[in-house]
Symmetry: C2
Subunit: 450 residues, 2 copies
C-alpha cells in the first residue's frame, strides 16, 4: 500500500470513528491486512487505535498486527490490556516476535505473560530469550521441519500434513541424524517432484549453508542475501539444529542496519526517532555535538594564536568558512564511501592503503581545481596575488588532508573493532576543522610574512 | 562466507595460480559456490579471473557466477570472450539477469548475443528489455507457475514435475482465468496438504497482492517487505500476469537503494565507486562541491561586509569555525533523520510542520546548552561578558536555524518531487554556513556596538 493509500485508509478510519460508524469500522478492521493496519496505527491516537483493535475479530489477525506494529505503539497498546487477552494473542505469534516483545517488558510482566501461555510455547520463548537479541539465536524461529535421512518423500509429505502445520516458512525440509545434527536440506519443490519412495538421504543436498546461534544478525543477513536462500538453519556449538532465520526477518534486518548506519554517521542515534519526545531526541544528539564543540574550541584557540596575523590582514578571516567547508564536505564524501563500502563488504581492510591513496589523489585534484578558482577570486577582489596563492594553497591542503583523514579514520576504527559508522562522523569533521584552520594560517604567515 | 574466509580463498587461489597448480585450482573452481567466487573475483586480476573461469566445468555454475558478479567485472570478463560461449551461458541464467547484462552492452553486441540464443529465451529477454530497468517490469522474471482455476491439486503437482522444472522460485502457484488475468494464489505448501482432487478455485486465496509493470522497484521492495511474501506477481495494465519479482532480488534492491541514499546525501555519486578510476570519481564528486564553494564565497563576502567590525574586535574571527560547525552538524542530524524517515516511509509529508517544529525545539535546546558553554568560555578567555553573550546567542541562532533548515528542506524537495537525498546535502550545508555567519556578525555589531 502506497503512502497515498495509507492516508486514505487513515482518513476513512478517523471519519468513521468520529461518526461512531461501528458496523463500517468493523468491516474495515477485520478485512484490512494487518501490515496495512500497522502502518495506519502510526497515525492514529491511542484512543483510535484501541477502538480499531477492539473491533478486530480474529486472534490470528491481532497476532499479525502485534508482529507488524512498531515497538513503541505496541507497548502503549498493551499497557492497559488484560494479561489473559495478551497471552491469547501471543500464542498465535511467531516465537521470535513474542521473545522480542517480552524482552522489552518488565521481568515481572514478562513472567506473568509466560505463565499464562501453554507450556510448550512459553518454553520456546524462554529458549530464545537466552540469546542476545541481535544474534542468529535471537532472531531465529524454533519452528522448522526436521526429518531423518531414512524418511521417504511420501512420509515427508505426510509429516507436512500432520505434524508441521504451524511452521511459518515450510519451503525447506532439514535432514538431521540421530543426534539432531544437521546433515542435509531438501526444498519442498524437490520433494514433490521425486518418486514417493525416494529416501531423503538420496535426494538431499549435503552442502548446507548454516549459521551458529551467536553469529551477529548482520552477518546472518549477508549470508542469506549472498546465497539467495529463503531461510538459513541455525545450529548450536555442536551442530545441533535449533532454529531457522527466515528471509522476511532478514529484509527487516537489512533495512534496520542501513537506517542505523545512516543515522549513526550523522550522530543522530541509531533508530528513527520521529516518534520520540523532544527531550529524548535532544539527549541522543547531545553527546555527538560535544565532539564538534570541543573541535570548535580548539580551532578558536588556534585562530587566537594567529591573532596578530589577522590584525595585520583582517580579510584573512573572511576565508575561514570556505576553507573549512570545502575540507569538511570532501571529508564527508570520503568517509561515507568507506563506511558504506565496509558495511556492504565491498571494501576490505586489506585494501586500506590503496583506498587512502586514491582518496588522497582525488582530494588533491579537487583541491587544486577549487583552490585555483578561489585563488583567482581572492586575487581579483583584493588585488593581492600573494593572498590568492595563500588561500588557493590552503584549499588544496585542506581538501587533500580531509580526503585522507576521511578515508583513513573509518578503516582504522574498523581495524580496532570500533563501529566505523559511529566513530567516523564526529572525529572526521572535528579533526578536519582543526587541521584546515591550522594549515591555512600557517601558510598565510609564511607566505604573507605577517 | 565472512571477510576472513573470502581472504583465505583469495590467497589460496592466487598462490595456486602462481604455482600453476591446475588440478588443485580446478577442484576449487568447480566446488566453490558461485556467490563466493564472485566475491573473490573482486580481488583478483583480470588474468587470474580468466584462469579460474576457464577451469569451471558446469555451465550452470558459470551462469550463477555471471548473475553474482559485479557489473564492471562481468563486462571486463566477457569483453574478449567468444559470442557463442557467452550465449551458451546466458541460456542458463535467469531472464532478468540476462536483460540487465544486455542492457549494458552495445546494441550491436546485444543483438548478436540474442541471435545466438534460442528463440524462446531471446524473446523473453527482449520482452523484459522493453521495461525501464528500475521498474517492476525490469526486475521481474517471466518464469512463473500459472494454472487454471479448475486444475486439481494432483494435476498441479504433475505440472510442477513436467512443465515447470525451470521455474526459479516455485513456492507460489498463481491461478489465472481464461484471459490470463490473475485471480488467485496458492502456496506450494498448501498444495501438498489439501486432498489431491481439490480444485485450485476452492483452495486459492483471492486477495492477491500484485504490482503493475511500471511500479518503481523501491515501491515493489516495500510491498514484498511489508507483506512478508517470497515473490510478488507482476501484472500489466489489463491485470494479465506477466512475471514475478522474487525476494532475493528485493533484498538486492533494498541494499542498493540504501547505499544510493547514503552516498547521495554526501554528494558522492549514487553507487559505490571503489572500483572506479580516480578521474571518474573526481568527476562525480566535483559538482556537489561547487554548491559548497559558492556558499563559501558568499560567506566570504558577508564577512567582508563586516570587515570593520572584525578590525575593531579581531578575536570575533576566532569564533567563526565553532559557530558554523555547530550549525552544520545539527543541520546534518536533522536532515538525515528526515531523509531516512521519508525513504523508509516512517515519515509522511503531512507531518511536515510537526517535524519541523520538533526539530526547531531540539535545535533551540541544544543551541542553548552549547551556546551557554561557549559563552562562558569566551567570557572568561577575553574577560568581556558582552562577547560571551554575543557568541552564545550566535550559537543558539545558528543551531536553531540549522535544525529548521535541515528538516524543512528535504520535505520541501520531496513535495516538489525532487529526490530529497540528492538535493538536501549541498543546499542544507551551504545555506546553514551562510545564515550562521550572517547572524553571528549581525548580533555582534548590535550588541558590541562595533
Amino acid at each position: 500500500m502506497s503512502v497515498d493509500r495509507t492516508k486514505i485508509l487513515q482518513d476513512t478510519i478517523k471519519r468513521l470513528i468520529r461518526r461512531g460508524a461501528t458496523v463500517h469500522l468493523h468491516k474495515i478492521a477485520s478485512r484490512t491486512h494487518a501490515a496495512d493496519l500497522a502502518e495506519v496505527f502510526g497515525f492514529l491516537t491511542a484512543r483510535e487505535q484501541e477502538a480499531i483493535f477492539d473491533l478486530m475479530d480474529s486472534l490470528e489477525q491481532k497476532a499479525m498486527l502485534f508482529s507488524e506494529l512498531e515497538e513503541k505503539i505496541l507497548l502503549e497498546l498493551i499497557e492497559d490490556m488484560q494479561a489473559e487477552k495478551i497471552a491469547e494473542i501471543l500464542e498465535q505469534m511467531p516465537t521470535d516476535d513474542v521473545a522480542d516483545l517480552l524482552g522489552k517488558l518488565s521481568d515481572e510482566r514478562a513472567k506473568a505473560l509466560l505463565d499464562l501461555m501453554t507450556k510448550e510455547d512459553s518454553e520456546e520463548v524462554e529458549d530464545l530469550l537466552r540469546y542476545d537479541a541481535e544474534t542468529a539465536g535471537g532472531i531465529m524461529v524454533p519452528d522448522f521441519i526436521a526429518l531423518r535421512e531414512e524418511t521417504t518423500a511420501r512420509e515427508a509429505i505426510k509429516a507436512l500434513q500432520k505434524e508441521y502445520v504451524d511452521v511459518e516458512m515450510p519451503f525447506y525440509l532439514y535432514v538431521v541424524d540421530d543426534h539432531e545434527h544437521l546433515v542435509g536440506v531438501i526444498s519442498l519443490r524437490q520433494l514433490v517432484v521425486v518418486p514417493p519412495e525416494a529416501k531423503l538421504r538420496s535426494i538431499m543436498a549435503t552442502d548446507v549453508v548454516s549459521v551458529q546461534t551467536n553469529m551477529d544478525q548482520e552477518e546472518v543477513a549477508k549470508i542469506v542475501a549472498r546465497y539467495n536462500i529463503l531461510a538459513v538453519p541455525v545450529v548450536d556449538e555442536n551442530n545441533k539444529l535449533v532454529g531457522i532465520v527466515t528471509v522476511d526477518d532478514v529484509i527487516d534486518i537489512i533495512r534496520q542496519e542501513a537506517t542505523e548506519d545512516i543515522l549513526k554517521m550523522a550522530g543522530a542515534g541509531d533508530d528513527l526517532v520521529e516518534s520520540q519526545s523532544v527531550l529524548k531526541s535532544t539527549r541522543i544528539r547531545l553527546p555527538w555535538l560535544l565532539a564538534s564543540w570541543i573541535g570548535g574550541v580548539i580551532a578558536f584557540f588556534i585562530i587566537g594564536y594567529f591573532e596578530s596575523s589577522i590584525n595585520k590582514l583582517v580579510y584573512l578571516a573572511a576565508f575561514i568558512p570556505i576553507i573549512m567547508g570545502m575540507g569538511g564536505n570532501i571529508g564527508t564524501q570520503s568517509s561515507t564511501i568507506v563506511v558504506r563500502g565496509l558495511a556492504t563488504g565491498r571494501l576490505n581492510l586489506k585494501q586500506m592503503w590503496e583506498v587512502v591513496l586514491k582518496e588522497l589523489a582525488i582530494g588533491f585534484i579537487l583541491g587544486f581545481f577549487y583552490g585555483l578558482l578561489l585563488g583567482v577570486v581572492a586575487g581579483f577582489r583584493y588585488d593581492l596575488w600573494l593572498l590568492g596563492i595563500t588561500v588557493g594553497l590552503a584549499v588544496i591542503s585542506s581538501m587533500t588532508i580531509a580526503a585522507m583523514v576521511g578515508s583513513l579514520m573509518p578503516m582504522v576504527f574498523a581495524r580496532i573493532n570500533i563501529d566505523p559508522a559511529v566513530a567516523t562522523g564526529p572525529f572526521v569533521t572535528t579533526s578536519i576543522d582543526i587541521l584546515s584552520v591550522f594549515f591555512y594560517f600557517q601558510i598565510a604567515t609564511m607566505l604573507l610574512h605577517i
